[in-house]
Symmetry: C2
Subunit: 280 residues, 2 copies
């Protein structure tokens, strides 16, 4: 099999390592060709054996078995037109964290080939050196608007995701973006806000010296780079703002309860939050 | 050495296991006597060998070498008067998450014995079965207002904390409570708010199916029970409200930037948050 990966950071690198491992186990032939606009990343990906070959011409990928787009979501929008001449046999999968705008921008020539996906995996680290072949194992991947795909490309995509150990969910792109705002995009904004609210205090070092596991857990994703997240915030603006509004309203409810020393209702409010872990 | 532990949950149980391990290594004699108002916890603590003996009479502890208070912070306030007849040789340490009200409530008879401490360790789990002898290892403990302690009791306390692998910080109780509001109490409130904002959506199960590591990290402490946290919120009310106000104001800043599609300033806002991890 021949796979082209566009974007050799954490997501693309981890995908390459996972799929390589899986092919090696079965002693099957696999070639991975990478593209990254950052030359340093390309060289690193080669030396880490994430890819077998580097190209800077997207046309080199257009008749491979699979093209995977692991670049920021606005870059996915920008690259779309140059994919429209892909072979009818080439499956294209994107890993973008937003789906509605991406689905809308798929050229009609490749609509049946293009399986819009969102693997719910990642870390706060970036670049090829952050790649981890176990990143996707046991995690959920959402496939959106699969009714627009040719069954052959959909089946191929499902096999690929199962190959790297993922659990597949199906969802409408619109619904996905609303859910993702609550489960991922807003929490990232809140983690940044938490980090900023400490950093703006008089002596952040003295405060941070006291950080335990709770704070570390909540501020971990505040390490995520703007490069990826600005694009996500752009593409999911309205859902994101709806979600931050909900969160702020919960905090306001809490503040009012504390102001009023209404401990019984504060207890109920906490107990309601505790319920989350019966589902999660 | 004879140690009395009041409160046999996660904190008390983990302390007992850590100190037992350390004494066993040196083949030194140690007896731990426990008190817990929950009979089930007492029995569990005995069967898990967290304690050697159970009593329900606090007077049984008043001439031991050490008394450790690992109960919710309001329970610490309530128990203070019954500790005032403790021996001059007994060191008393509390593990409460707030310090100002506790320090104020220490009876003058035991002020020199009572070392007000806050180990920055914990998990979202509770009860003796959650006890973990490695809980405190490598973590920070804050000792407050140590100038009010007899040097003998302070030295003994420091040795105990070093024995279980902790790093000691010193701080004024007032300063501690403000810092703890930002690094621990407000983040707990935010984690509850995050959980509630998802739980109140139309279909929380569909949203939670998409939870990745980021959301899990941010909602983990939303599992913490009200029993402990209501008391902390009570005792640190004003600092907590100051901290939630700061956080909300950061979120409002973010919302305004997103509304205005001011991507350059959003990038700067994220970069400022990224700075946290250069200190943490």
């Amino acid at each position: 099999m021949k796979i082209g990966i566009i974007g050799l950071g954490l997501m693309g690198g981890s995908f390459a390592l996972a799929i390589k491992k899986s092919f090696k186990k079965r002693d099957e032939k696999l070639e991975i060709i990478g593209i990254d606009h950052n030359d340093q990343h390309s060289l690193e990906a080669l030396s880490l054996k994430i890819v077998d070959k580097i190209t800077d011409d997207i046309n080199d990928l257009l008749d491979l078995d699979l093209i995977v787009l692991t670049i920021p979501v606005n870059a996915i929008l920008n690259i779309m037109p140059s994919l429209k001449d892909a072979s009818k046999n080439t499956t294209i999968i994107d890993f973008g964290s937003t789906k509605e705008k991406i689905v809308e921008s798929i050229p009609k020539e490749i609509r049946e080939n293009f399986v819009a996906s969102h693997p719910m995996a990642g870390t706060e680290n970036s670049g090829p050196s952050a790649a981890d072949r176990k990143l996707y194992r046991g995690k959920v991947v959402v496939i959106c608007n699969s009714e627009d795909n040719n069954p052959k490309h959909l089946k191929f995509t499902k096999n690929i995701f199962r190959e790297i150990g993922m659990k597949i969910f199906y969802m409408n792109a619109k619904e996905h973006d609303r859910h993702a705002a609550f489960i991922s995009h807003m929490p990232h904004a809140v983690s940044y806000a938490l980090a900023n609210s400490v950093m703006r205090q008089e002596n952040p070092k003295a405060i941070l010296a006291l950080a335990g596991g709770g704070f570390r857990g909540m501020s971990r994703i505040a390490k995520s780079t703007p490069a990826m997240w600005i694009d996500i915030f752009k593409q999911n603006k309205q859902n994101l703002l709806d979600a931050t509004k909900c969160l702020k309203s919960e905090i306001t409810t809490f503040e009012k309860l504390i102001e009023d020393e209404n401990w019984q209702e504060t207890t109920d409010w906490i107990l309601n939050a505790n319920e989350l872990h019966k589902i999660l």
